[in-house]
Symmetry: C4
Subunit: 221 residues, 4 copies
Amino acid sequence: MRDSHPDRFAQDPGRGAPADVGEKDTGRVEAFSDGVFAIAITLLVLELHVPQRAAGVPLAAALAGQWPSYLAFLTSFATIGIMWINHHRMFSLIQRSDHTLLVLNGLLLLAVTAVPFPTGLVAAYLPYRDARIAVMVYCGTFTAIAVFFNVLWRYASSGHRLLDPRIDGRAASAITRAYAFGPALYFASFCLAALSVAAALALTVALATFFALPPPREPTA
Amino acid sequence: MRDSHPDRFAQDPGRGAPADVGEKDTGRVEAFSDGVFAIAITLLVLELHVPQRAAGVPLAAALAGQWPSYLAFLTSFATIGIMWINHHRMFSLIQRSDHTLLVLNGLLLLAVTAVPFPTGLVAAYLPYRDARIAVMVYCGTFTAIAVFFNVLWRYASSGHRLLDPRIDGRAASAITRAYAFGPALYFASFCLAALSVAAALALTVALATFFALPPPREPTA
Amino acid sequence: MRDSHPDRFAQDPGRGAPADVGEKDTGRVEAFSDGVFAIAITLLVLELHVPQRAAGVPLAAALAGQWPSYLAFLTSFATIGIMWINHHRMFSLIQRSDHTLLVLNGLLLLAVTAVPFPTGLVAAYLPYRDARIAVMVYCGTFTAIAVFFNVLWRYASSGHRLLDPRIDGRAASAITRAYAFGPALYFASFCLAALSVAAALALTVALATFFALPPPREPTA
Amino acid sequence: MRDSHPDRFAQDPGRGAPADVGEKDTGRVEAFSDGVFAIAITLLVLELHVPQRAAGVPLAAALAGQWPSYLAFLTSFATIGIMWINHHRMFSLIQRSDHTLLVLNGLLLLAVTAVPFPTGLVAAYLPYRDARIAVMVYCGTFTAIAVFFNVLWRYASSGHRLLDPRIDGRAASAITRAYAFGPALYFASFCLAALSVAAALALTVALATFFALPPPREPTA
């Protein structure tokens, strides 16, 4: 009998009644993740500082001088936003959750919540000699996010472990292939930062822009 | 076969089972947006600073001297609150989401999360010579929000692209016309700030108050 | 025909399909309010400051010296928590939302989001001569919350305007009577602060404790 | 007649229609708790400070010198994350809510929202003589969370008070036994802190790691 089975404790019946076949089981993981993504993306604004009033410096000049903050704010916002869209998509295909999925999702959220810190680093150090270190930490954080994304997806999709049974195996494989580029490209931006801070940031912005474009459509079978 | 189609990956089946005709498809976009609106509106309080204890300045006087902070807090709260109500309404008519909708919604949320920054600018600079710049940034942010709102609505409603099929075309057009005033009026407050800071803030407060009134009802057909 | 009616735009069909008779219509208002309550209650912790390292002051003494912060934190947490429980209960009886409900709920949330500010005032000024002003602002904020609560409930329940039709009229009246004490008692704490800061805080703590007790049960008819 | 009974006011019909037998009744408690957990876990990042630019100190060295902040951030993130997973599991078994459950859940959330404060203490004081006090406050907070967890679960499960009736009594007892170790182990880390800060932190990290492992499965009956 299913309900007398302690296993049920390890499952995630979501917010509704215990999961039946075909019913989604990931409501509360998605809600918690939405909360963390929403807060991390909104806390970024705390890295935009109101300039101190200073004799002889007009506000317009002080605001213009803060351009690294705006650049870091916009790049981080775009990257977290894209990550949320991908998380959202990924979980539209995942039907069940288990303990390992929760822990892997937690690792992903750990890297996402950390983003305001390297964002502040880039905002503070971009015009200075130490910009290289700041941008490496920044791109390294995004690399970690991309890696955890892939680990999460591979765990859920491998052998159709937690996927909606109606998802076609080829569609799942196409997603696996598409995701696989993320860690490599963000790692490239991390390495590039050691050579050129501007090139690394440009690649990060390009990645966010690229992933913001609509996904390619394959011809229907 | 729908489920073997990678297109499904580009759709947003929300939190429930895959979307059927007539079923809402925007649950998680709304949840994420609610989170961002709720956090942005609640972070505004961080712009209210506890006055430093200073010899000879009673607390009541110090608190009264912070009136620009309260004015900026109330105006921003009202404006974000009204924007949330409109977002809520708009999505009560939108039935499906796609990648472009998510990206346009992300642009809207970008401008919403930025609001605490110009709010802090206005709070800090309102009594000073640089108030003009602060208020222009403030009204400019609201103009951006209003513009992104219109872009989002027009994308969703154009040709009934993502609307609930039960929504009448004339009702959708009436909303399009009503929304169209927002960007123009906020842009007017932006321009007005260059002439008179007080007039620009008064217009912003008036707009929030006006939009807080119940919407007009048209006679039933 | 209902769907061609722009009125629908003024309604709140929540997250599901358009509301039918008997269906809840307040899902997204509750979700947004939950978010604001949850963030406001969690931001309180930012008023607890890590003591600066100072020569000759052991950490234990520095922490003990911060007792006004802990008192303010606990009192505000309890009060916001109780307010959330009441909000939750109130909306379990409200079935539909309209524009006015959204605006009144917004006023309530405005006062709730403001709580971290007077909490910080009390934490900073409690041991000093200006404590009276700080506690009056604190109790005044809670008075405003209690007043907005009553306005919201009376709007929703008057003539059964937005209530679940299955709610008994006498039950609704009993709640109206029970809520009516809130503003009076918080206003009493506000006035008391002018006489005795300790008495006003004690009353505020007593109110939170009292409302945390289970509600009285009336005999079934 | 159920609906005329004021008792209904004390119940929690969640976000849907009034609760029927077998229907979940805890939707909004879970949503509010998710919000508080998500915000508390995301606010931890505010304890990671961007190092001040200082002549002669390269950024890499300044970042490396902040290792206590990273250790405290990771430990707190893991502990709150694990607590969320447990909360999530616990509520997958709880079907109904009542006033006492809401208040006990509030006490648990109180301790969870406080976590950023002792995290900041540990980050600031770990390399100094006062580390003992900081780590005792830190482990004491986790002890409080573990205690409130047990109180909440015992209230809900005692006599199957609020559990889903389909939950087997032996399964519930197994959970009670498993949870009982938490307070004892966190209290041990609290005591250990008085002897060795390193040992206490190591135990805390070990506990988070241990609880992150999948739960043991009992053989099916």
